[in-house]
C-alpha cells in the first residue's frame, strides 16, 4: 500500500505538524513520501496524490478547522470514480481540549465521502502548541503514541482506535479543569507561555494594542 503524507501546516517543516509527521513515519518503519502544501503547487500536488493508495493529511487546527491552504488543496482534488483509495487526517491544536477540533473532524468525514475516498478517521491531539519548544523527554508520551499510530497504520492500513481514544481521553474540559485554569489566570500563572513569548520579543507592553481601532489613539 503506497501512502503519501501531506503536511498542511503553513510553517512546513518548521512547526509542530512536521514533528507529528516525522514520528508517524518513524512508527511506520519505512520511508514514505511526504510533501508540504506550502512548498507545492495545488494542482500538481492534487494530481500527484492520485498516484497513491492512501493519503494522510497532518495539520494544525486553524480557527476551528483546517488551515486555508489545506482547503485550497482539497478544492483541487478530483472526485474518484472507484472507491479504492483512502484518506485520513491527523489534527493538532493549541487548545487543550480535543473537542475544539470537532467541527474539523465532522468535515473531514464529509469531504472524504464527497471525493469518494474511504475515510480512515481523524486523530485529534489537543494541547500541542508548545511541542516544538519542549525537550524531547517531555514529549516522550506523545511521540510514543504517534509512533504506535504509524506502526499500526503500516500493518493494517487503519488508524489505531487505542491511540485515538488515548488522545481523546479528556475530550471536553472538565468543570474542575476549567475552574483550575481560571484560577491560574487570576494568579498570573495562566497564559505564561504567551507572556514569556511576548517578553522575549520585547512586545509585552504592547500586548493589548488595538492598531486598527475605530477610535484615534490618545483621543
Amino acid at each position: 500500500m503506497k501512502t503519501i503524507i501531506i503536511n498542511g501546516s503553513p510553517k512546513g517543516e518548521g512547526g509542530n505538524t512536521h514533528i507529528f509527521a516525522s514520528h508517524f513515519i518513524k512508527g511506520m518503519g519505512m520511508s514514505c513520501e511526504m510533501r508540504c502544501i506550502v512548498k507545492e503547487d495545488y494542482r500538481s500536488l492534487a494530481e500527484e496524490i492520485e498516484n497513491f493508495d492512501s493519503v494522510v493529511f497532518i495539520m494544525p487546527l486553524y480557527v476551528h478547522a483546517m488551515p486555508g491552504i489545506v482547503m485550497k488543496l482539497l478544492e483541487h482534488m478530483k472526485t474518484l470514480e472507484l472507491g479504492n483509495r483512502s484518506m485520513g487526517f491527523i489534527i493538532q491544536s493549541g487548545f487543550t481540549e480535543p473537542a475544539q477540533s470537532r467541527f474539523a473532524k465532522r468535515y473531514f468525514e464529509q469531504v472524504s465521502n464527497r471525493l469518494k475516498y474511504n475515510y480512515l478517521g481523524t486523530v485529534i491531539k489537543g494541547g500541542a502548541a508548545g511541542t516544538y519548544l519542549m525537550p524531547d523527554n517531555m514529549n516522550k508520551k506523545l511521540f510514543t503514541a504517534l509512533e504506535e499510530l504509524g506502526s499500526y497504520y503500516n500493518k493494517t492500513g487503519q488508524f489505531s482506535e487505542k491511540v485515538i481514544g488515548g488522545f481523546e481521553k479528556n475530550y471536553q474540559m472538565s468543570k474542575r479543569a476549567a475552574m483550575f485554569q481560571q484560577f491560574l489566570n487570576k494568579t498570573g500563572l495562566g497564559n505564561m507561555f504567551w507572556n514569556s513569548m511576548l517578553k522575549k520579543h520585547n512586545a509585552f507592553d504592547r500586548r493589548f494594542d488595538k492598531p486598527f481601532s475605530r477610535t484615534i489613539k490618545g483621543s
Binding site: A65, M71, E97, Q110, M173, R214
Partner: protein, 156 residues
C-alpha cells in the same frame, strides 16, 4: 449604520458599503508565525488586509456572500477567517467551561452570511451552519443569520 460587504460571487454592493471582493483580491495565507500575537500585537506580517481591518472595525454590520466549496467555506474564505486572529488576544480564559480567546477590541460588527451552492445532504448544511456559528462565537461576534442567497432582499 456603517456596513461592509465581503463577496465571493455576484456583484452585490451598496453605495455606502465598503466592499471586499474575495474573488478579485484573494487574501494572503496566514503563515502561522504568531507575529500578530507576540511580536507586533494586533498586526499581521502581511499588509494586504490593513485597510480591511480598519473598515471591518468601523462597520456595524458585515454581509458575507459565501460560495460553498465541497459543502463548506471555500479556501479563500477560510484564509480570511485564519487572518482574523489579530482581532483576538492570545490569552485564553475558561469561564464558559472551555478555552476561549479574549477579544482585542471593544466592539465588533454583527455578521450575516448568504451562501450560494448546494449541500449534498442535511449533515453538510448543519455542519456549515454549526461551523460558522462557532467561528463567530470564538471571535465574540454575533452571527445574525445564515441563509441561501435566494433569500437575500438587498439588505433592507
Amino acid at each position: 449604520m456603517r456596513t461592509m460587504i465581503i463577496r465571493e460571487f455576484g456583484d452585490y454592493s451598496s453605495q455606502d458599503s465598503y466592499l471586499y471582493d474575495l474573488a478579485q483580491q484573494p487574501v494572503k495565507d496566514c503563515t502561522g508565525c504568531w507575529s500578530c500575537w507576540w511580536r507586533t500585537p494586533g498586526r499581521c506580517i502581511h499588509k494586504d488586509l490593513n485597510e480591511f481591518y480598519k473598515e471591518y472595525l468601523k462597520a456595524d454590520k458585515v454581509t458575507i456572500f459565501s460560495k460553498l466549496s465541497l459543502g463548506f467555506v471555500s479556501g479563500n474564505l477560510k484564509t480570511l477567517f485564519d487572518r482574523l486572529i489579530p482581532m483576538a488576544l492570545p490569552y485564553i480564559e475558561y469561564s464558559t467551561g472551555e478555552s476561549m480567546h479574549l477579544p482585542r477590541y471593544d466592539k465588533y460588527p454583527e455578521i450575516e452570511v448568504y451562501y450560494e451552492g448546494e449541500f449534498v445532504n442535511q449533515d453538510e448544511e448543519l455542519l456549515y451552519k454549526d461551523y460558522l456559528a462557532r467561528v463567530f462565537y470564538q471571535f465574540h461576534i454575533s452571527l445574525n443569520l445564515v441563509k441561501p442567497v435566494s433569500d437575500y432582499n438587498g439588505g433592507c
